[in-house]
């Protein structure tokens, strides 16, 4: 790996810039510890000229939010024929849009909480109250409100009372013009990382998320100590296998590549409910992928050096993929 020149892209202009910078720093340190030559770049107006000039062997996308997960940076890298770790632009778009991902998985027979998607214009034109009432009738309370697109739980809220809905809608719509409301499912919240390997995509042990506040929101995600993580998740063998199957299925059905992280809820009856999938999972000190890697006996460096080799091999098919 020492001859590879790898660029870790982080930062960007999304709401998740801060998280992305932390992911980028952590990943870069891990790669350097494995003797990989790493440069950390921001995704800014100098990016294209830098890519053309330096032609890195591979780019690892540690951007979160629309830039990193919505397919746009992938499109740029595809146009420039720069190898990169992660899913292609089309798959990223499918995964990034939560309703699209849920629709695809529901069509394939996977369980996902019932949901509705509504833009602000619908509330404006039809009147907020009747539409909100219809949402409650359909999904019940509590319900989850999330921006249609977005990560790090920014704008996501649990709404427990109908009276809270207008305020929650306003807060959620500050992150985008369309809201996805989802039936709230009680259960064990898990995150399952899937990593491509020689035998195809394989799930790392599920990480169980147990936030002390009851809600895994931004604060609970990024304040060390506010959430207890159990690795592997405290699931029986059947449920553990089921969450792994769902994560691998999501990875395959959405056409994801190299690495993904699926968030799911295991209900009391054992049903695994798919929530969403991340094509550029967080890699910060409090992120779930590094914990899953450790539980699976692997390191961040180990996983990503392998993925970098895969990315290089994709761009240069005569080079045999080097897998960890």
């Amino acid at each position: 790996m020492s001859d590879r020149c790898v660029v870790v892209l982080s930062g960007g202009l999304s709401h998740e810039r801060d998280v992305s910078l932390r992911s980028g720093r952590r990943l870069s340190a891990a790669l350097r510890s494995a003797d990989v030559m790493v440069e950390e770049w921001d995704a800014d107006s100098a990016l294209l000229s830098r890519l053309r000039e330096h032609r890195p062997d591979a780019v690892v996308i540690a951007l979160h939010g629309a830039e990193g997960e919505g397919g746009s940076i992938q499109t740029v890298l595809e146009m420039l024929d720069v190898p990169f770790v992660g899913a292609d632009s089309h798959a990223c778009r499918r995964a990034w849009d939560k309703p699209t991902a849920k629709t695809e998985l529901a069509r394939a027979g996977l369980a996902t909480p019932d949901w509705v998607v509504l833009p602000h214009s619908t509330f404006r034109e039809l009147g907020a109250r009747p539409v909100l009432d219809a949402m409650v009738d359909r999904l019940g309370l509590p319900m989850m409100l999330k921006p249609e697109q977005g990560g790090s739980a920014l704008g996501a809220q649990v709404v427990r009372e109908a009276a809270e809905l207008p305020a929650a809608m306003v807060a959620c719509l500050a992150y985008g013009e369309t809201v996805m409301a989802e039936r709230y499912v009680e259960g064990v919240e898990v995150a399952v990382t899937v990593v491509d390997g020689p035998g195809g995509p394989a799930a790392l042990p599920a990480v169980e998320i147990d936030p002390s506040t009851g809600v895994y929101d931004y604060t609970a995600r990024y304040t060390a100590g506010l959430t207890t993580f159990h690795t592997p998740a405290r699931l029986d063998a059947r449920s553990a296998a089921a969450v792994a199957e769902v994560a691998v299925a999501a990875h395959r059905l959405l056409g994801l590549r190299d690495v993904s992280r699926t968030d799911a809820i295991v209900a009391a009856d054992g049903t695994v409910h798919f929530l969403e999938v991340n094509s550029s999972p967080g890699l910060t000190e409090t992120s779930l992928l590094p914990m899953a890697a450790e539980a699976g006996g692997r390191s961040l460096a180990d996983i990503y050096t392998g993925l970098i080799e895969r990315a290089v091999a994709r761009a240069n098919p005569v080079t045999a993929p080097h897998n960890p």
Binding site: F123, V170, T219
Partner: protein, 437 residues
């Protein structure tokens, strides 16, 4: 569901020290709002959020030579520990600076600190027990609110108008606090070009406020970082000049010279000063000797008053750009203060708009501000925001307001759709880090 516990399972909170933290650390959490400000440092975003002074006019070449000369000639002193009191020559010069605002002080009563923020921390440390009450203008400087929270003091806000703190509101706050059996330790006030409100306490009110505090046995802590930054060169008599025995005065070179040097001071009555020095010694041993020497040399060898005039002119142009843009672009129903100095305008938006909830939309539109909620300890301020004009150029300020107006327009439409709403308080810091422009 049957739980199977493999032997290698781990349960972790990622913070093994969680049970050890003091109660005052409870609010020190990650913040969604703070995360949004990470974007504000990018050049694509017009940040009207931070309060970074504009340093472009500083004589960097001659300063560079001065610093090199200091190290060369006095390096063994400059790089050595110093006194917790601060360098004597600098304390002399600080007294000359304060004389511009009618303060007559002895250098022995000055304690040099690591920025006036440290001075405020020391004052709070020596006066406040948990549960004590500090009175502060509503809104108030967020860094002060953070300090008071760190010492578990409760803040009671006192209303302001265009002439600053309202004396009658001060009387009422004192009476109500006393009636509740609470002890007021001091009034914290920023009389000149207030952060965030932009207003200045009128001269008649200064005397009245001091009288009320003296009559009620309440100390006054006067924070005056902007006093020399009146746009017409005007200054006001410091509260300290009117009541030397009952005012602790906090000063700073961060706005008149260089914030990065972190040199500020406290001027306090003798007995208080002795305790401040001991508190400061336990916090930092001494203020940075080299930085004190740089400030002292700058004051001695540069036309620092001329430099302050240059700052006044720069900030005046930027204030004017902001005010005219607000007038031109903002929707009806918005009102704002008109500062005669300092860095900030306090904007009130129409009913139904929550400036904190609106922030993600603003960041998406590449403009940043600080929601008013960050400047209150009691959850108020959701209809206000602080706009800073000190750092961006006038052109950028105008562009920022144009973007802000579009964001406000969208938010007003949202308010019309969903009606007035009450939102949950957020957690963690609600304001940008100090190095966010």
């Amino acid at each position: 569901m049957t739980s199977v516990q493999p032997p290698d399972r781990t349960s972790r909170s990622l913070d093994p020290h969680l049970s050890r933290y003091a109660a005052r650390a409870a609010g020190m959490t990650a913040s969604e709002v703070r995360a949004l400000f990470a974007v504000a440092s990018r050049p694509e975003v017009v940040s009207l959020a931070g309060g970074m002074p504009n340093l472009t006019a500083l004589p960097l070449d001659s300063l560079s030579a001065e610093v090199a000369g200091l190290i060369s000639a006095d390096g063994l002193v400059a790089l050595q520990y110093g006194s917790a009191h601060g360098l004597p020559e600098l304390r002399d010069q600080i007294c000359e600076v304060m004389a511009l605002e009618e303060i007559s002080a002895h250098p022995d009563d000055v304690v040099v600190t690591v920025g006036s923020q440290m001075a405020l921390d020391m004052v709070t440390r020596i006066f406040c027990d948990p549960g004590d009450v500090v009175l502060a203008e509503g809104p108030s400087y967020v860094g002060a609110l953070g300090t008071f929270a760190a010492y578990q003091a409760d803040v009671v806000h006192v209303a302001m108008d265009d002439d600053g703190l309202v004396p009658e509101a001060l009387r009422e706050a004192l009476a109500a606090t006393r009636a509740a059996g609470r002890r007021v330790k001091f009034l914290y006030t920023i009389p000149n070009f207030h952060n965030p409100a932009g207003v200045t306490m009128s001269v008649p009110r200064r005397a009245e406020v001091l009288e009320i505090c003296a009559a009620n046995d309440v100390l006054v802590v006067e924070d005056n970082p902007y006093g020399l930054l009146g746009f017409d060169g005007q200054t006001y008599p410091a509260l300290r000049s009117l009541d030397p025995d009952n005012v602790v005065y906090l000063g700073s070179f961060s706005k008149t010279f260089a914030a990065g040097l972190r040199v500020g001071w406290a001027l306090a009555p003798h007995a208080v000063r002795e305790k401040l020095m001991l508190a400061a010694e336990s916090a930092t041993l001494c203020p940075p000797t080299l930085n004190q020497m740089i400030v002292s040399r700058y004051l001695a060898t540069h036309d620092w008053k001329g430099q302050v005039k240059s700052f006044q002119q720069t900030y005046r142009e930027r204030r004017d750009a902001l005010l005219s843009a607000l007038e031109q672009y903002l929707p009806a129903g918005c009102t704002w203060t008109v500062p005669a100095g300092g860095f900030f305008v306090w904007l009130t938006v129409p009913e139904g708009v929550d400036t904190k909830a609106m922030l993600p939309r603003a960041v998406t539109a590449r403009v940043a501000y600080v929601s008013g909620t960050g400047f209150y300890a009691d959850g108020l301020g959701s209809r206000q925001m602080r706009l800073s004009f000190c750092y961006p150029t006038p052109e950028r300020i105008i562009e920022g307001v144009r973007r802000l107006a579009a964001v406000l327009s969208d938010e007003l439409e949202l308010a019309r759709t969903f009606g007035p709403v009450t939102r949950r308080p957020g957690s963690g810091p609600q304001v940008p880090a100090p190095d966010t422009a």
